[in-house]
């Protein structure tokens, strides 16, 4: 009997967790951060440079780091299967490498940004 693939299990578990985090938080972030200021339902000052710095305390930084990385991980994991579904399964290895490289680089940029964003 084949051994269970532990790495694959971890990847799917992280995917599920990412799906939940994205499902709970991404819609409200799109509304408050982009759509409402864009259509004038909220003042554009809500997302000005100073306002953003003002709300980025330590806990908010950790929260945004988790949401951004979880969403990118979840979406890219699914995107990989979209590519397979439309007939690109023969490129499985390069797609895996590309997708996980994008996730890792995004996570590093998120960590870098949230550490270096100046305090208000």
């Amino acid at each position: 009997m084949a051994e269970p693939d532990k790495l694959e299990a971890v990847l799917w578990l992280t995917f599920t967790l990412g799906g939940f985090i994205a499902a709970l938080f991404i819609p409200v972030i799109i509304v408050i951060n982009n759509l409402a200021p864009g259509i004038g339902a909220l003042s554009s000052g809500t997302v000005s440079y100073d306002s953003m710095l003002g709300r980025l305390g330590p806990l908010a930084r950790i929260f945004f780091l988790i949401v951004v990385v979880a969403s990118i991980y979840h979406g890219m994991h699914r995107f990989k299967f979209i590519l397979f579904d439309i007939g690109l399964l023969r490129f499985k290895t390069p797609i895996y490498v590309l997708v996980y490289a994008i996730i890792v680089v995004s996570a590093l940029i998120a960590i870098y940004s949230l550490i270096l964003i100046p305090n208000p």
Binding site: F20, I26, I29, R55, F63, R78, F79, D85, S113
Partner: protein, 132 residues
Amino acid sequence: MDKEVRTYEYKPSKTWWLGNRRYALYMVRELSGFAVALYGFIFLAQLFTLTQGPIAYESLLRVLLSPAGILLSAILLVFAVFHSLTWFDLTAKVQPPSMRGKPVPRKLVVTGTIMIWLFISYFVAVFIFRVG
């Protein structure tokens, strides 16, 4: 003597998912996951430009709050809400909770999850974004 093993290789057409409404919906659901990642990249760009100073951040903000940026946000919101609803529905199917040994009706689980989701959204708006 080694015998050559020939395995069947399934090669679906690139448009197999257009042949059936359920398959097409499956693909839209998968795409909604990608839309969530796409917004993750946009938000990441916003966070990165905050490290580059007010001029870089405000330049990106102008693009995001332009008519094209608003349209993109609206499309991503539709996909993100679709992703949330299908995700909650899926979770209720995969791991149905039970009460006193009886399964809780799926509609009730999904409705409850949506109520919790709305409450969390309000919490994020008020306590993280400090709106209102």
